[in-house]
Symmetry: C2
Subunit: 574 residues, 2 copies
């Protein structure tokens, strides 16, 4: 490739130019933008789309997954997914021959690098567009690997994840295009006779990838948490190996299948994106992270392995973007809309049985109660009212399961079943036990409504541990000053993905903003309507901050993409 010759425009660049420009402008503005409609309505996705998606999902069941095409496999077929709703999926996936796969990835890199940022971005958009067309199929795949209820699986794993993917693509594109391709540098000077004699050089700046990137998927949000790293690495020129969670392979297998199909259609090697499912007991994420070819790792999962990845990566000059765990916090001070507070919090605790990395866990309430539009409400009454709101929301099994979904693993089930023991340990009270819900369609599913345990603010030893799943802690404080101090200190030390405050006082809200800034966590204030602290909107809300131990990065800011590529200059006199 001669740098002086501009590469011919790729057809996908023409096709997606306006999407790229529009999405880039939206990301800079951080106001509302969404490309992929979140409504599963036939008016949006077309008549028959829902049925076709279900049929496509059903066709995948009890079969070898063939969508990946010609892969670098060692001939093994692996896969033991069982739906949290009961049935085994019966799907097997080709296991990679790692040496061959990493060689193929490296071989594919130069052509992808030299295609340039805009072509890469356009190819990535084409991938997301085609993934969007399979949103119903994806919804079933996600529902039956994560336990999400169907509509949530459609939205969060479909359009919302697709919007996050597009956000990541344009963030990477903009970042690469901030460096000019070529400049003439002219330094004023004079020769020995005093005549102007500038020094002129041409400098060409070439974006180069880091090397092979690995995405380690999680069980609960395989696409929503997987796409930002996948597309951030791919758009910046790096081949990507996607290592799905063994219990949530299918959503990423479908995604990788689309990546490979589009890459091949676009004239690139399909091996720029490969799926690396684990053989039983293989621990493939660790094996991959220890390979010298791997220069970037994106990870969502438990803190112990996340910490290992970070240390291992540092020893190898590998970039590691890790989202781990934390103690999401709500400070309740006062409100002029108690019903709104209770309804909003009940929904946040209930959605997907509290199995979101953004679900609140620690609710600080003054032990002397709070001022509300219904008069002063005591700590105990607040707990009782919140329990009642949860009960109302989840009281009907058939309706409840559409919010709760199913519990994803035994850890969550143990947490939900252990409230009495936990209350005893904490010297507290079970305000609301986690109710067992029977799923009308899937009797084998273990479904749990949220429970609440109250305890004193002195029991940091208990409430600074993440208790993942449908469990909230009502923590009695000496007052809002203590609530805010505990909020700041515990999040600083233990991390959080989200925080919320309820107050009618501007001074308290200001103090909460300062505490959130000190703790390094985003703050939602007085949410009483249809927006929930668990939710972030692509192009506007950052998911995570990278400023507390819960995550070292955010979706999606410049820091998430700027270091995934490097710039190599060549300069010469002209």
């Amino acid at each position: 490739m001669t740098t002086a010759t501009a590469p011919a425009s790729h057809p996908f660049v023409d096709k997606h130019q306006s999407v790229l420009d529009e999405a880039a402008a939206a990301l800079a503005a951080r106001s509302y933008y969404s490309r992929y409609p979140e409504s599963p309505s036939p008016r949006v996705y077309g008549e028959g789309a829902a049925e076709a998606g279900l049929a496509a999902y059903e066709a995948l069941r009890d079969n070898a997954f063939g969508g990946l095409g010609d892969v670098r496999t060692d001939g093994q077929w692996v896969g033991e997914e069982v739906s949290p709703y009961g049935p085994a999926l019966g799907i097997t996936y080709p296991h990679l021959d790692l040496d061959a796969a990493l060689t193929a990835a490296a071989d594919a890199m130069p052509a992808w690098r030299d295609a340039g940022a805009r072509t890469r971005a356009a190819v990535c958009v084409e991938i997301v567009e085609r993934i969007n067309q399979r949103s119903f199929e994806m919804a079933h795949a996600v529902m039956h690997t994560t336990g999400q209820p169907f509509v949530m699986a459609f939205q969060a794993a479909g359009p919302h994840a697709q919007d996050r993917a597009l956000e990541s693509i344009v963030a990477g594109l903009v970042e690469q295009e901030r460096i000019p391709a070529s400049v003439v540098w002219e330094k004023p000077g004079r020769d020995r006779q005093g005549n102007p004699a500038p020094i002129r050089m041409q400098k060409d700046y070439r974006v180069v990838p880091r090397g092979v990137a690995v995405v380690v998927g999680c069980n609960t949000f395989p696409t929503w948490n997987g796409y930002p790293g996948l597309f951030a690495s791919l758009v910046t020129g790096n081949p990507v190996v996607v290592k799905p969670h063994p219990r949530a392979v299918l959503p990423l297998a479908l995604s990788v299948a689309v990546c490979r199909e589009v890459l091949a259609d676009a004239g690139f090697s399909a091996d720029l994106v490969q799926l690396a499912p684990d053989a039983p007991g293989e621990g493939l994420a660790k094996v991959l992270a220890e390979r010298p070819e791997v220069r970037i790792v994106d990870y969502t999962g438990g803190p112990a392995f996340g910490a290992w990845l970070e240390e291992n990566g540092a020893a190898r000059g590998q970039l590691v973007y890790a989202e781990k765990a934390g103690v999401n916090t709500v400070v309740v001070d006062s409100t002029d809309n108690l019903r709104g507070v209770l309804g909003n919090l009940a929904f946040s605790l209930t959605l997907y049985s509290g199995q979101m990395c953004t679900t609140p866990q620690n609710l600080y309430v003054p032990r002397d109660g709070i001022a509300t539009d219904e008069g002063t409400v005591s700590f105990e009454d607040f707990g009782a009212r919140l329990a009642a709101a949860v009960g109302k929301l989840t009281g009907d099994d058939a309706k409840a399961v559409e919010l709760l979904g199913a519990t994803v693993n035994d850890g969550v089930r143990a947490n939900a079943a252990g409230l009495a023991a936990l209350a005893e340990e904490a010297g507290g009270t079970v305000v609301l036990d986690s109710r067992e819900v029977t799923h009308p369609a899937y009797p084998e599913a273990v479904v749990r409504a949220p429970g609440l345990v109250s305890m004193d603010a002195s029991r940091e030893d208990v409430y600074t541990q993440e208790c993942f799943g449908p469990v909230g802690f009502l923590i009695a404080t000496a007052g809002t000053d203590q609530s805010l101090a505990q909020f700041r200190d515990t999040v600083r030390e233990h991390g959080a993905m989200t925080a919320a405050v309820y107050s009618t006082s501007e001074d308290v809200l200001d103090a909460a903003r300062d505490a959130a800034a000190d703790a390094g966590v985003a703050l939602s204030e007085n949410l009483t309507g249809p927006v929930f602290v668990n939710q972030t909107a692509a192009f506007s809300d950052l998911h995570g901050t990278g400023a507390n131990p819960a995550a070292n990065a955010a979706y999606v800011d410049a820091a998430f993409v700027a270091n995934r590529f490097r710039v190599v200059t060549s300069r010469r006199h002209v």
Copy 2:
């Protein structure tokens, strides 16, 4: 602080608005820009400036350094600097009480954070402007701590370092200002009656610092390598502790003194920038890196401690920007200007006795010789001609010392004295021994002209080690294909800060660009004039790439600044 109220503009913002805008535009364009004149002429810096600078430096000698004002000291005075030109400096510096110093840094942070990015940037510009006024004093301080010759000390440690500082400041400013301070987010929606009912939220984005930043200075370029990290951290809101190299304290002490003076003048705590000189044997860099308050480390120095910092940092979620060591490479293929090649290379090898992190070490030359405008020149003849060019440049002691400066430490002296042994080990030849030069003004200085050792390309075991100082290796290859392959592979594995190629063939230049892209190192092509491979220009050339083991970052790109701050959102319905 209420986020709704814009802070009143700081006087320094008005004063430096145009500098900030101009420098930001220059950085985006990456064409020529320099704010601080590199000529030490009285026409530029004023009559008497040189004499006043010398007098200011002399006044510092044999004294306790008082310029830091009221510091958090434990009462010890430390400092054992000895000029590479001979005399002891006799200067002592107040040793920090680390607990008090880190507490003071943390206490100073909120006001600095809440001042906003533009005020911080303007205060930083004021610091650099005042440092510029002390460029002659700084030149003597740098000359007598690093061994640089005077004019180089003036330029590299003065205006060039100041330009790099300004570059870092505007890079940090631009990055922070990419995030809007506040937006209204409006999601379209309809109520149950089908009437438009958008969801509206105000979202405020607040830039927050990481925490205390540490800059670990090096012996050879304390300001040039120190300022980018110092100002990148400071402009993004982080207090900075500057830990100078024990043999090069004064240049950073002067710099920190100006920082503290300006910060206090601007109404902020002087403790936002503190000097942390080591007590003998203290190993303060390690102590600092292990403090939980320290969230960012910028380091220039040896690879062993650099690797320790990176691993230690990863375990703590600390950001580490490290420039370590490498094997800078020149590929000689052919030329139409042999004299120009030889003169340029001789100068690059000679400048500061090869003690730059950018000095070439490995020169690959085909063993069958190269095509030139003077006919085919054999490998041996090329070596002899280069030796002659070095000899001509450094033959006169009085003129030579103005290029060579003095050797900075015993390691360099041992390398310069060990060429015969090295040649024997490598099965090669001493093409030019490193000549001992007598400094006419400083007879105690150990001054060495460059030496050259030839060896075969098979002796990777020798030439992939960094041999810091006035030593170049002429490496005989089977041809340019092997030269480029060795270049790519050795730099990929061992790192490099710079690379150069000489060729008349566009195909070879293209191949060299591809090899440089694969190796992740910047390439200078056919330099035969007044630009040298050792030199990079702020605002245009990236120093380092972060893409090979020599350094994990570059001066200055977005990745160097984007992660030094984080963004905390607060959102509410409006």
